[in-house]
Symmetry: C2
Subunit: 213 residues, 2 copies
DNA sequence: TGCTGTGAAGTGCTTCACAGCG
DNA sequence: CGCTGTGAAGCACTTCACAGCA
């Protein structure tokens, strides 16, 4: 159905939006919408219709002129283009409150993002079982990463230990890191880091709040 | 110390970076760095030096030529410019796993973002005490928002109930919403919504992973 | 006819380069 | 002399407008 992907540079803003499209398309699919055109999809995502068409065009021609996009095939096309239509195995470092909350979340597994090993440097936590996984010493990280084919690392340590956690992950050959710790980490160019920080969002809300202006 | 702010349009990319600057500056301050110039600060934040200077210039002249920025005053200047140097009172809707994790997080309160009321539409949860707060029926939201001076709403419901939660918040006069539910919500122009979605970040990591390219 | 896919135009953010000041 | 603050240049993303196809 899709042609071969256009080999241009793809803006990272496009990648972010594709994730939104999948989310919204899944809701349409749940409501038994079978076909959708770019404008209503764009409106549901809070963007412009051309934007949607251009974003999709980076990966192929998924639509039917005069009709629109078939919802289910479009979901399949996007997830396949992003590489999220397969299992991804992840390790988590820092089994505190936040780490436990993420382990309990469950939605990760449902989407193919499996946390298969958890680590902490606190000797009192090592050996504890959390959500069916034994807490390991960070020293074991390297061996377990290769044994378990882990590709993504999640950091949920306090900020002062985030850099060391990142170093452990990189030493183990991990190149993709999701960082929940409220700290920037220093990494070489080739390592991908995504930051999740609630306060960034709260700061934006506070700044844009009517009273503040 | 600061001149009056320049009254230009401020890019929202700037606001996001300011949050990062605060985070990084606080780390420098913890390490007893007293003065920093734009280039090392920029490097720690992963951006360009001019960018830092231009971002700060939107709000005033905080630096000393030939010297740099005084770390503590700069933190104060930024937090004051963003309006995050005061208490913000928040309501949370959806006391499930994620909601409870956020209530337990504690870091919110430390930064002046206080969750002062929690709501759920499940009758079995109403009356339950979670982290010192009684779970209320969403019907009580309007009264409690005005009684408790709540300005920000947090949505942690399942996706299918996110829109209704947003409606409750808007009916109560809330104009700032932090949405953790994996769903887009439809709101009028004047309402500010920030989305927190872990999967958006995981999708980006998956797409940029070496094996995928 | 209606909607996609896409070059061209428009817009806004980022980087450069340097004047200006401590 | 060094670093800030800032106009101007550069670059990247977004939007427009329409050709092209079902």
């Amino acid at each position: 159905m899709a042609n071969q992907p256009k080999s241009k540079h793809i803006p990272c803003a496009t990648i972010q939006r594709l994730a939104t499209y999948v989310q919204v398309l899944e809701n349409f699919s749940r409501d038994n919408v079978e076909v959708i055109s770019s404008n209503p999809l764009a409106e549901a995502c809070g963007v412009n219709g051309s934007q949607v068409r251009k974003d999709l065009a980076y990966f192929g021609e998924f639509g039917i002129r005069g009709v629109g996009y078939h919802v289910k095939s479009l979901i399949a096309a996007i997830t396949s283009s992003l590489g999220v239509d397969r299992e991804w195995r992840m390790a988590l470092i820092g089994v505190g409150n936040l780490g436990k909350a993420i382990l309990n979340h469950g939605e990760f597994r449902a989407r193919g993002f499996n946390i298969v090993a958890i680590f902490d440097c606190d000797p009192f936590k090592i050996g504890e079982i959390v959500h069916g996984l034994e807490v390991h010493c960070t020293r074991d990280l390297k061996d377990m990463v290769s044994d378990l084919n882990i590709e993504i690392g999640i950091i949920t340590t306090p900020p002062e230990r985030a850099q060391r956690a990142a170093q452990h992950l990189m030493d183990a050959g991990i190149t993709s890191i999701l960082n929940f710790a409220p700290a920037r980490i220093k990494v070489p160019e080739r390592i991908n880091v995504e930051y999740v920080d609630f306060f960034h969002h709260l700061y934006a809300l506070a700044f844009n709040h009517p009273m503040t202006r």
